[in-house]
């Protein structure tokens, strides 16, 4: 069945973005397994449609705040894949000069204000960014991504309430992949869900299939328009599934293979591909896009590998201005 409002070019853009994210995540996984990528790495494989569908509606000046699972958001917002990969490899040319790694990926030049190693910590930070935008009378919006597990942290309540009472230009996007690490989030969450909590704080909330990139795009577009028009905060709950383990090392033995199998059929890239084919985009075109994505990431990996380590002297930079030379 063809879809209403299908925009083949836009969808092909999503296909490209999602393919680039997927390729990046697969390379990150391989890098972690080989030991070249260190620290903890959280892959967004299976969740690409949310990053792509939301961020396509953002301008470079708009901001996003991300989570420990932040590669996809960064790529969708426009971060350079080469610098990102270099960061994962801990190299001098990384987005964070090798100081952050996967969990602290960030690119302030395109408004990506950072991944975060602390669940839920991004929520008040994002609210504050939106507060600053409003304070200076700017027209930017802020998108705050977080997982379903974050709904049980206090800053969820405090940050959402904050956005509501000051009427801030912010879209909260909850990526509900059903899991908080190895635990099914719903088993430890009272009430109907994060959207009900948002509503109880006075923020209009919607729930959608987060694996349908067109739907995410259209919904986010509508919500962001309302926000840009001064409508205050909105909440978007996206149902999705984490096709991989919690970290790149986690084989996720805590869920039945059949469940994963079932969910694999709802892979957002697969769905997007089907829609594109159905609407007459030739398969060869899609393969070309995929190949380009893989090539881009492949060369990012090669470059990262060859890149030098950061010079140890930079360890002493970027700490603070006052007392910058006083280490003890």
């Amino acid at each position: 069945m063809t879809r209403p409002n299908f925009d083949a070019a836009r969808m092909l853009g999503h296909y490209r973005t999602m393919s680039r994210i997927r390729a990046f995540e697969e390379a990150a996984e391989a890098g972690q397994k080989s030991g070249e990528v260190r620290g903890a790495v959280h892959l967004s494989i299976g969740q690409e449609a949310i990053a792509s569908g939301v961020c396509v509606n953002l301008a470079a000046a708009d901001y996003i705040v991300s989570t420990h699972r932040g590669h996809g958001h960064s790529i969708a917002k426009g971060a350079d894949v080469g610098a990102m990969m270099a960061e994962l490899y801990g190299k001098a040319g990384g987005t964070c000069r090798g100081k952050g790694g996967s969990m602290h990926i960030a690119d302030f030049t395109i408004g990506m204000l950072g991944a975060n190693g602390v669940v839920g910590a991004g929520i008040p930070i994002a609210a504050g960014a939106a507060h600053a935008v409003k304070l200076r009378g700017g027209g930017e919006v802020v998108v705050c991504f977080f997982g379903d597990g974050a709904m049980n942290r206090g800053p969820f309540l405090e940050g959402l309430n904050w956005a509501r009472i000051y009427d801030l230009p912010i879209l909260f996007v909850c990526e509900d992949n059903g899991f908080a690490a190895t635990t099914r989030t719903r088993s430890l969450s009272g009430g109907r869900g994060p959207d009900a909590r948002a509503e109880s704080l006075g923020i209009p909330a919607m729930e959608i299939d987060g694996n349908d990139v067109q739907l995410v795009d259209e919904t986010a577009s509508g919500l962001l328009s309302a926000i840009r028009a001064g409508g205050g905060p909105r909440f978007l709950l996206c149902r999705t599934y984490r096709l991989k383990g919690h970290t790149a090392h986690d084989t996720a033995p805590y869920r039945p293979a059949s469940e994963v199998e079932e969910r694999r059929r709802h892979d957002p890239i697969l769905k997007c591909r089907e829609a594109l084919l159905l609407h007459g985009v030739p398969a060869a075109e899609l393969e070309r896009v995929e190949a380009e994505a893989k090539a881009e990431v492949g060369s990012a990996v090669e470059t990262a590998r060859r890149m030098p380590w950061p010079d140890q002297s930079i360890a002493w930079e970027d700490v603070q201005d006052v007392g910058a030379a006083q280490w003890r």
């Binding site: 100081k99 302030f108 930070i125 201005d321």
Partner: protein
């Protein structure tokens, strides 16, 4: 020069900085009513509720929102009401504000000031009396300031607001009413520079915040016995003025550190250890016993340092 209270000096510094720089704003509970001690009195009338922001009781969001707002180019002044309540926002201050610039490789800066009124005051007991400057001094990325006088509460708060680093700014609650001269139109006081309260060659006494005044009393008592103390008000706890302290201790060969905070693991240990390492001279610390601050006056007294104790400690070292 004008004579004003420590409280008023802080209020003015904020007002002046807000006039000077439209990016500066303040947020915290009850600020519209002047703040819990009156240190924001009249500011909302002057600057409006968008720049003097009344917040809900959401310390984590107050601090977290300030981090986000600072990253995006504004300069928030965060009011925590009592330093003890900042313990509801430690992730936001220590994991986020202090580390953001570094872990993002210098991309972002977090120019915020966290005002944390500290110390023992009117039998406020265990949850409203803490002095935790040593904690924040231990955290890379943070600047820690403890003003002792009206002039410094003016000059250092201005400097803190202009600073591009996150600054933990600890006013002492028992000093709000202290009066003193504040130079008009002066430049902000340099962060990281101590102040020699009085010069002397017999013993170095290093202290900060309210204890500066207690130690000054002690120094006067010592003087009557012909002992000249070199009394240093550290002012900034991190970075601390190693040069002045080591210079003085190198001359007097004795260094006594006095602070209101719990002695065990207090910042006095850092100073004493450094002096001992660098100079191998006599060191001694005076701080509170390792007790939660009790309520009843005679019990609270057990946590306080009287000038006589400083005198006795100094005598022992001579």
């Amino acid at each position: 020069m004008a004579v004003m209270t420590y409280l008023e000096a802080g209020r003015r510094a904020l007002e002046e900085e807000m006039r000077r720089d439209p990016r500066v704003w303040a947020l915290g509970e009850d600020l519209g009513r002047g703040g819990v001690f009156g240190q924001y009195k009249g500011l909302q009338e002057t600057f409006g509720p968008a720049r003097i922001v009344d917040t809900p009781i959401s310390e984590a969001a107050i601090m977290g929102a300030a981090v986000g707002a600072a990253m995006v180019g504004t300069r928030p002044v965060v009011e925590m009401r009592f330093a003890d309540f900042a313990l509801c926002a430690v992730d936001e201050l220590v994991n986020q504000a202090a580390k953001a610039r570094y872990m993002f490789g210098g991309q972002g800066r977090v120019p915020l000031v966290v005002r944390q009124p500290s110390g023992m005051w009117r039998s406020s007991a265990a949850q409203h009396s803490q002095s935790l400057e040593a904690w924040y001094a231990h955290i890379p990325g943070l600047v820690v300031v403890c003003p002792a006088t009206p002039a410094d509460n003016h000059g250092l708060l201005a400097a803190a607001i202009r600073c591009d680093d996150p600054v933990v700014y600890m006013e002492h609650k028992d000093l709000w009413g202290l009066e003193g001269e504040v130079p008009e139109g002066a430049e902000p006081t340099a962060l990281g520079k101590a102040r020699r309260v009085r010069a002397g060659g017999d013993i170095t006494i290093v202290t900060w915040s309210k204890m500066v005044h207690v130690a000054a009393e002690a120094a006067a008592m010592l003087e009557r016995d012909g002992i000249a103390a070199d009394l240093i008000d550290l002012r900034t706890i991190w970075p601390w003025d190693r040069e002045m302290v080591l210079g003085s201790a190198g001359t007097t060969r004795r260094c006594l550190v006095v602070h209101e905070a719990v002695q065990a693991g207090g910042f006095g240990a850092e100073i004493a250890a450094t002096v001992a390492e660098e100079l191998g001279v006599k060191v001694k610390r005076l701080g509170a016993p390792r007790l939660p601050v009790p309520y009843a006056p005679p019990l609270e007294e057990a946590c306080k340092i009287a000038p006589e104790r400083i005198v006795a400690a100094a005598r022992e070292m001579l």
